[in-house]
């Protein structure tokens, strides 16, 4: 099976450690994955803001970059959701039949990381070690758009040393929402502040999620409020081992 990793534009530019962690993890599980260097972004920032014409060349680049792979794994529920549910809309609008076909071929092969680990590789114990008190935030797109269910929790429960505590009102949106975070900054912040409060109530040292964009938002609030709580991508938790620690 030829596996590619879509590192996502936010991870590439702002959170390279997440991309590195995905490769560390996959290698440890015996998967030799590629990073197709032609990849850039899933086009979600344009699509969700309403710039569908502007999304066309980005989607075209996406399907070209990942052509020929059997599985495309991404450490982002949001980007996986975008590839699976929005690329076809963009392709239809472009009027380009070739693009429509390419999207129909590529989209179903996109997996969010935990789906790939649990469904394709069939593992929940990835041999990780992370001796911290952790709470998990299921991001909206992984929860509702993809329906990843309890896969992330099943993975986290197998991590050695990890003390998993429940997050109150876990399924509520953190308020990031892409450009919503700046177009409706006050409302976004009000939602994020409640999320941050719940993280504190949970008594966790580390907040874990499967989307760095949401973590950028919640983490930015937790840091501004000097709560001392750290945010971390799930892939980085799963990549840690006793040797590395």
């Amino acid at each position: 099976m030829k596996v590619a990793v879509q590192v996502t534009c936010i991870n590439d530019t702002m959170f390279p450690d997440t991309g590195k962690a995905v490769f560390t993890l996959l290698r440890r599980l015996g998967v030799e994955a590629d990073f197709p260097a032609a990849q850039t972004c899933c086009a979600q920032p344009m699509v969700n803001t309403g710039y569908l014409d502007e999304a066309v060349p980005v989607v075209r680049n996406f399907v070209d970059a990942f052509a020929g792979y059997d599985a495309i794994v991404t450490p982002s529920g949001s980007c996986a959701g975008s590839a699976r549910h929005q690329h076809s809309i963009v392709a239809r609008r472009s009027g380009d039949a070739r693009l429509r076909e390419a999207v129909a071929r590529t989209s179903p092969k996109v997996y969010e990381l935990t789906e790939f680990l649990v469904d394709v590789l069939g593992v929940t114990d990835v041999g990780a070690y992370f001796p911290h008190r952790v709470t998990y935030h299921p991001t909206c797109h992984s929860l509702r758009m993809l329906g990843v269910g309890d896969r992330p929790l099943r993975l986290l429960r197998e991590v050695r040393g990890l003390d998993l505590v429940e997050l109150p009102a876990a399924t509520e949106c953190c308020g990031f929402g892409g450009t919503f975070a700046v177009k409706n900054a006050e409302t976004s912040t009000a939602m994020g502040a409640d999320k941050a409060r719940h993280v504190l109530e949970a008594g966790a040292e580390v907040l874990v999620a499967g989307d760095n964009s949401c973590l950028l938002h919640i983490g930015g609030l937790l840091s501004r409020q000097r709560t001392g709580v750290r945010v971390m991508h799930l892939a980085e938790v799963l990549a840690g081992t006793e040797d590395a620690a």
Binding site: A37, G50, P57, V58, R144, K183, E186, A193, L222
Partner: protein, 486 residues
């Protein structure tokens, strides 16, 4: 005594004011939290809920696909049973039809059972302009009307008020509208309801004309259906000599067995009850009563013409999407500038009014984080997030001839992201900035990364409340080139 949504500011500004109203925030969080839990519990009792949702969506889709035929059938059944059917293209036409009926019967006051359609067309204001007073008889509507306020929820229009506020409104305003509130009125719910009952009874007994809406209109038998929980609807529907019902053309269900599906979906989704207390049905006119039905378009055919958006016309106004919406929970309904607030309002208003027409309407599709909770809750499976994104595209397209800063930013982002070499160059620039900022950045975020301080506009929109980590000195891409592919 009536407020209006006309001239409301765009959503972000209206929301800003609502966010700082602590009483509102508390009232809303409490009310939506309670009803959310109730709804989840009773929906959980139904094993075939998903099949019911699919059935509801399919029935409505079928109606919408052949709306013309169903409407003619409804008109015929209604006429056969002695009702007079009127067609109204827009708000002005509909209001004039109701007013002229009132004039023919020389009435100067009407009682109303809660109807979103009449609020949508501004009926009370239009009647007032002709010297006719319309009295709301739903408890929450009464509170809104007496308080010279605007509704903020589909089902519980006064959800933003608490008991103490309601007591105050009753004590200071009831006398001017009819029977005054008792002097010793407390804020106990039973006493508040009692005061409203006495106040309203006087109006029910006096009124010669009533105006209603309808939750459903059964085409095969010409039956209108009103679902409510206080009994005021039944009073309005039965006592007066003249009954005028204003009904949106999308309210049709073809048969009684179709109605059955919705009478299961609606109460559980809306009030979180297994069954609603009062379901009134009437087919045409009954003895001693003259019945009129105004079939209202007012933008519905415009919405119908929108391939993606037309699913919004399936809406049965249950308000489940409002109650689960994290944006609505914090901003309240007034911020949406319409009688249709929350997620459904964010799509329905632009669909009915059109995009690119005014700033307020164009701001609504962006009043969502696209979290998808509304879609999960909707009993007729309206994919609200999908329609929101679709409408955002329509808003953007409507303004393409005069590009804003945002459009320029999106165009350049698209250019950079269409080609990895361009992105690579952009990242080099960020890496350089990262090296500098990591040295000069003073604040360290939990976990050890340096934070940027407060940024100038437009970065300030983010950084006013949230720290931003400094960019890394090396992008993933460049790390991979250096040593990734071992």
């Amino acid at each position: 005594m009536s407020a209006t949504f006309v001239g409301m500011p765009a959503f972000p500004k209206a929301a800003r004011e609502a966010l700082s109203d602590t009483q509102l925030r508390r009232n809303l969080a409490h009310a939506t939290g309670t009803i959310r839990a109730k709804r989840a519990a009773v929906v959980g009792e139904v094993d075939d809920w998903e099949e019911l949702r699919l059935a509801g969506a399919a029935i409505k889709d079928n109606v919408l696909r052949h709306l013309d035929e169903h409407l003619l059938r409804l008109e015929k059944s209604l006429t056969d049973r002695g009702a007079t059917v009127h067609w109204a293209r827009d708000a002005a036409e509909a209001c004039e039809i109701v007013a002229s009926i009132a004039r023919q019967h020389a009435v100067d006051e009407v009682v109303k059972v809660k109807s979103m359609a009449t609020q949508e067309i501004g009926l009370n204001e239009a009647l007032a302009a002709q010297g006719i007073t319309a009295w709301e008889t739903d408890l929450a509507e009464l509170i809104v009307q007496l308080g010279d306020d605007l509704p903020s929820h589909i089902l519980v229009p006064a959800i933003h008020r608490n008991r103490a506020e309601i007591r105050e409104i009753f004590r200071s305003r009831m006398a001017a509208a009819g029977r005054p509130a008792p002097d010793d009125l407390s804020d106990r719910p039973a006493e508040l309801a009692g005061a409203a009952r006495l106040h309203l009874r006087e109006k029910f007994l006096r009124a010669r004309m009533a105006v209603s809406g309808a939750n459903f209109a059964v085409a095969e038998s010409g039956t209108l259906v009103v679902v409510e929980s206080e009994g005021n609807g039944r009073m309005c529907l039965t006592l007066p000599e003249v009954l005028v019902s204003v009904v949106g053309i999308e309210k049709i269900v073809p048969t009684w067995s179709d109605l059955d599906v919705f009478l299961q979906l609606l109460p559980r989704s809306s009030t979180g009850e297994r069954m609603n207390p009062y379901t009134s049905t009437w087919s045409g006119s009954t003895e001693g009563q003259e019945a009129h039905v105004v079939l209202l378009d007012n933008g519905r055919t415009r919405a119908l013409a929108d391939e993606v958006g037309r699913q919004a016309l399936r809406c049965i106004r249950c308000s489940a999407c409002l109650n689960v919406c994290p944006v609505y929970e914090r901003t309240g309904g007034h911020a949406y500038g319409s009688v249709y607030p929350g997620p459904i309002g964010a799509i329905l208003n632009p669909l009915l009014r059109g995009t690119g027409v005014d700033e307020q309407t164009d701001s609504l599709p962006y009043a969502s984080s696209l979290c998808g909770a509304c879609f999960d809750a909707c009993p007729v499976r309206i994919d609200i997030p999908e329609v929101l994104v679709h409408l955002r595209a329509k808003v953007v397209d409507a303004h393409r001839s005069s590009p804003k800063a945002e459009a320029v930013a999106m165009k350049s982002a698209s250019w950079v992201l269409a080609d990895a070499r361009r992105l690579n160059w952009a990242e080099r620039g960020m890496g350089l900035a990262g090296r500098v900022l990591n040295r000069v950045g003073r604040k360290v975020m939990p976990g050890g990364r340096r934070a940027l301080g407060r940024l100038p506009w437009p970065g300030s929109l983010w950084s006013n409340a949230r720290d931003v980590p400094a960019p890394p000195v090396e992008s993933f891409r460049s790390w991979w080139r250096r040593e990734g592919r071992r």
